[in-house]
């Protein structure tokens, strides 16, 4: 055979074989769970929300879902299952906006009969546009088009990850599924909160900002969840307002957004109150919690103990918002904020 002909056939043959081998490896290990839950006893593990959440939502076994931002990352699903008797999956998607949640919700409800769904009413999500996403999602992991899966099957980073999964198994160093997204940090303290917040507080030029869009955006956001609430009356939805601490409110006051935020929360509550299959929990007015900055790392992110507290409260229907008690919320919030001595605390940490 002519040398160049042999070269062409050899190159094409080996190149295609390598591609097929690689794609097969990724298909079998499937580190983003696009095709199946783990085979051969590999431990499932979630830590790349943008890439893994859709696959996990589609292919894992569960009857109940915790879906949300960093506000749900420290929920312990084993405790949930024990306390509620559910088979829970934690679909944490840090910094997700409503378009991201919408993409995950459609995967969840098109593949599973969901009994319970827990969702945080994150201020960050509510004030954004309902059509916004955190980052552009890799659509090949979300859509039904099998042709574009090539971006997954022949992807250097995915192969690396697949090999990592195998070596973890061999070395017995597989991370545990229950610890997915769980923070490995211990610096929850007033000092951490105040250092990060005071830097922002002193370097920002604070002006009263436009706040008309808050309610409009929030209502569009909740309507996305609302469409699932209406469509799935047998699913119980638990929505909760996370206990951001008082510095969150200081920040809102500086922006000129405090009253608009309280108003927005009321409108969100009113929206959810119309559904029989929704329970609403409000933790922002749990005074001993939101004024104790030792539970936090910044003005919003709290320690796993608070996640446990939220879980137990939901189990005991504590902090449940009803048609009878929701109108007192703004007044109570204002009382907490009026009573808190912002000036002294800020002064104290400004001059350590």
């Amino acid at each position: 055979m002519k040398k160049t002909k042999a070269f062409v056939l050899r190159v094409i043959g080996i190149f295609l074989s390598l591609l097929i081998l690689t794609a097969s490896l990724v298909y079998v290990i499937d580190p983003f769970y696009l095709y199946h839950k783990p085979w051969f006893g590999f431990e499932p593990y979630l830590d790349e929300a943008v890439y893994q959440t859709a696959g996990a939502a589609k292919n894992f076994d569960y009857d109940s879902v915790i879906l949300g931002s960093s506000m749900v990352e420290n929920f312990n699903i084993a405790k949930f299952d024990e306390l509620f008797g559910w088979d829970t999956i934690k679909l944490a998607y840090s910094a997700a906006l409503m378009d991201d949640y919408s993409a995950i919700l459609s995967q969840v409800f098109s593949t599973h009969q969901v009994k319970n769904l827990i969702f945080p009413i994150d201020n960050y999500t509510m004030i954004a546009k309902a059509t916004d996403s955190y980052v552009p999602r890799p659509e090949y992991l979300y859509d039904e088009n099998r042709l574009n899966d090539v971006s997954y099957l022949l992807n250097y980073d995915v192969i690396q990850r697949s090999i990592q999964v195998i070596t973890n198994k061999i070395n017995n160093t597989e991370p545990k599924y229950e610890t997915s997204y769980f923070w490995n940090r211990s610096d929850f303290s007033t000092a951490t909160v105040m250092h990060s917040y005071l830097y922002e507080r002193t370097t920002t030029a604070w002006n009263d900002e436009e706040s008309d869009f808050l309610v409009a955006n929030a209502l569009e956001n909740v309507a996305v969840l609302g469409s699932y609430i209406e469509q799935y009356p047998d699913t119980k939805f638990y929505v909760f307002f996370p206990p951001y601490n008082v510095m969150f409110w200081d920040y809102k006051i500086l922006m000129g957004h405090k009253d608009a935020t309280l108003e927005m929360n009321q409108r969100i509550i009113e929206y959810f109150l119309q559904f029989d299959n929704v329970e609403i929990y409000y933790f922002m007015d749990k005074e001993d919690l939101v004024t104790d900055l030792d539970y936090y790392v910044d003005r919003g992110h709290y320690s796993p103990e608070i996640n446990d507290y939220i879980m137990e409260s939901i189990a005991n229907k504590k902090h449940l918002v009803t048609k009878d008690n929701y109108q007192q919320i703004p007044q109570k919030m204002n009382e907490i904020l009026d009573a808190y001595d912002f000036e002294t605390v800020i002064q104290l940490w400004s001059n350590p």
Partner: protein, 468 residues
């Protein structure tokens, strides 16, 4: 569709290649050409279907002018038709490429607030416009009587390897090849050479240019975070990025051409080895220099009308070249500086020739680095901010995001050194591929490059939202 994509490499190219060779073998040669034309339209249409209509209109318009020029015998009428054809081509180019640039400048100068037009810039419009301007000029000057059919002319204008980014192939280089009988036979030598060249080009683009490119993007988006050494790394990275990117693309185009038994003109000849800027322009984007020389510089009088006119003509070419690269004052400044340096070199060429080669090379390479940074900057003000960073000696560490984009400090140094050696010592890939080495090492390198490049088309990015 880009060459460096799954859909091109794993679907479009094999389907087009196999289809072309099967059709030309089984049927008459025109079937192959029709198929290649259709596939070229598919390739170009994937960018935007509207682009395809603009391309078709341009082709049909120019073909009509060509037919008119061939038909007319009265010189004045011919001239009128030629000028009309030229004006329409240039107007279309100016409209699509520069409308918003003019609006922006008028707004700035006179304080108006005209809204920008929502014009899509069709990919490759300047390439196929230049190719056709060259063609009309040749027809008008009547050096030869060309007898081009519409099918081969359409294929010449839209042949997918060069439609988006060149090389600017001339009609008399390409159309005769479409006609040659042997072009329609599957030639294993050409195919082997084409695959090698394509792989090397893809490797340059994906494994080198894109690595430097990510450092450059970080540098130019975080200009204020750069210290002197980081700005230097960004500057030299861009010099490498633009060469590996553009020459890699050209290698791929030439390689694909060879797979179809079509030889395309070369565009690069180790440009960073140049000792003077004059030499650089003989080695960089050769087909563009050729176009400007043959169809602008010489018609303006070239160097036949005294040194002042020669320098004026040179200046015009460089300003045009600057504007051609994009509608931004940074490109104009880039062209202006290159023009000045070029003219000064020409004036002092005798004295310059006495300077040691290493000094000449250092000066030229330094000049190129500085002017590429101007070329890369988003605006004149960003350019000033960028050059200002060279005065920041607050630390000697490279901005961590930049070194991380290479994989670390040592990897960064390795990449920069390898790139420098590559540019200075390794011959152009076309020369390597021409040798048609088919042994173990070339096979292995081609397979590895193709494989690694394909795996790099998509990336998984870890998004760090909270920087705890």
């Amino acid at each position: 569709m880009y060459f460096q994509s799954y859909v091109f490499l794993l679907l479009f190219l094999p389907v087009t290649l196999i289809g072309y060779h099967v059709l030309t073998k089984l049927f008459q040669k025109d079937m192959g050409k029709v198929y290649l034309l259709l596939m070229s339209f598919v390739f170009y249409g994937t960018f935007h279907i509207a682009y395809l209509f603009i391309l078709l209109s341009s082709i049909l318009f120019n073909y009509s002018i060509y037919k008119g020029l061939s038909y007319l015998h009265i010189e004045s009428k011919k001239r009128l038709l030629f000028v009309f054809g030229l004006l329409v081509n240039i107007s279309a180019l100016v409209y699509f490429k520069y409308s918003n640039f003019f609006i922006d400048n008028i707004n700035h100068l006179f304080g108006f607030s005209y809204e920008f037009l929502h014009i899509l810039l069709p990919v490759g419009i300047s390439f196929y416009t230049f190719m056709q301007i060259a063609f009309l000029s040749d027809v008008y000057k009547k050096k030869e009587v060309y007898q081009y059919g519409i099918l081969e002319y359409m294929l010449y204008c839209s042949f997918f390897p060069y439609i988006t980014s060149g090389p600017i192939a001339l009609h008399h280089e390409i159309i005769p090849q479409f006609r040659k009988k042997e072009t329609h036979n599957l030639d294993w030598d050409m195919l082997a050479e084409g695959i090698q060249l394509f792989a090397y080009g893809l490797g340059k683009k994906v494994l080198l240019a894109d690595v430097f490119g990510s450092a450059v993007s970080i540098g130019f988006s975080d200009v204020w975070k750069l210290n002197s050494i980081s700005a230097f790394v960004v500057m030299i990275s861009y010099t490498f990025q633009i060469y590996f990117d553009f020459s890699g693309y050209t290698d791929m185009a030439l390689g694909i051409g060879k797979m179809f038994h079509i030889k395309l003109p070369e565009n690069f000849n180790q440009p960073y080895r140049s000792k003077t800027i004059v030499e650089f322009w003989e080695r960089w984007h050769i087909t563009l220099t050729r176009f400007f020389t043959k169809y602008v510089y010489i018609p303006l009088g070239g160097n036949r009308r005294g040194s002042i006119i020669t320098y004026r003509n040179t200046a015009i070419i460089f300003l045009l070249s600057g504007l051609w690269h994009g509608a931004n004052w940074t490109f104009v400044l880039w062209g202006f500086l290159h023009g000045c340096f070029f003219i000064l070199t020409k004036i002092w060429i005798k004295k310059i020739n006495k300077i040691p080669s290493i000094l000449l090379w250092l000066t030229t390479f330094g000049f190129l680095n500085v002017t590429w940074s101007i070329f890369r900057a988003d605006s004149i003000s960003q350019m000033f901010s960028f050059f200002n960073r060279f005065r920041d000696f607050s630390s000697v560490e490279v901005y961590n995001k930049i070194s991380a984009s290479f994989g670390g400090d040592w990897q960064m140094i390795a990449y920069l050194l390898i790139a420098l050696v590559f540019c200075l010592k390794v011959p152009e890939m076309t020369k390597l591929a021409e040798k048609k080495k088919t042994g173990f090492l070339p096979s292995l390198s081609v397979i590895l490059i193709l494989f690694l490049a394909v795996l790099s088309f998509a990336k998984v990015t870890t998004f760090v939202y909270f920087n705890f």
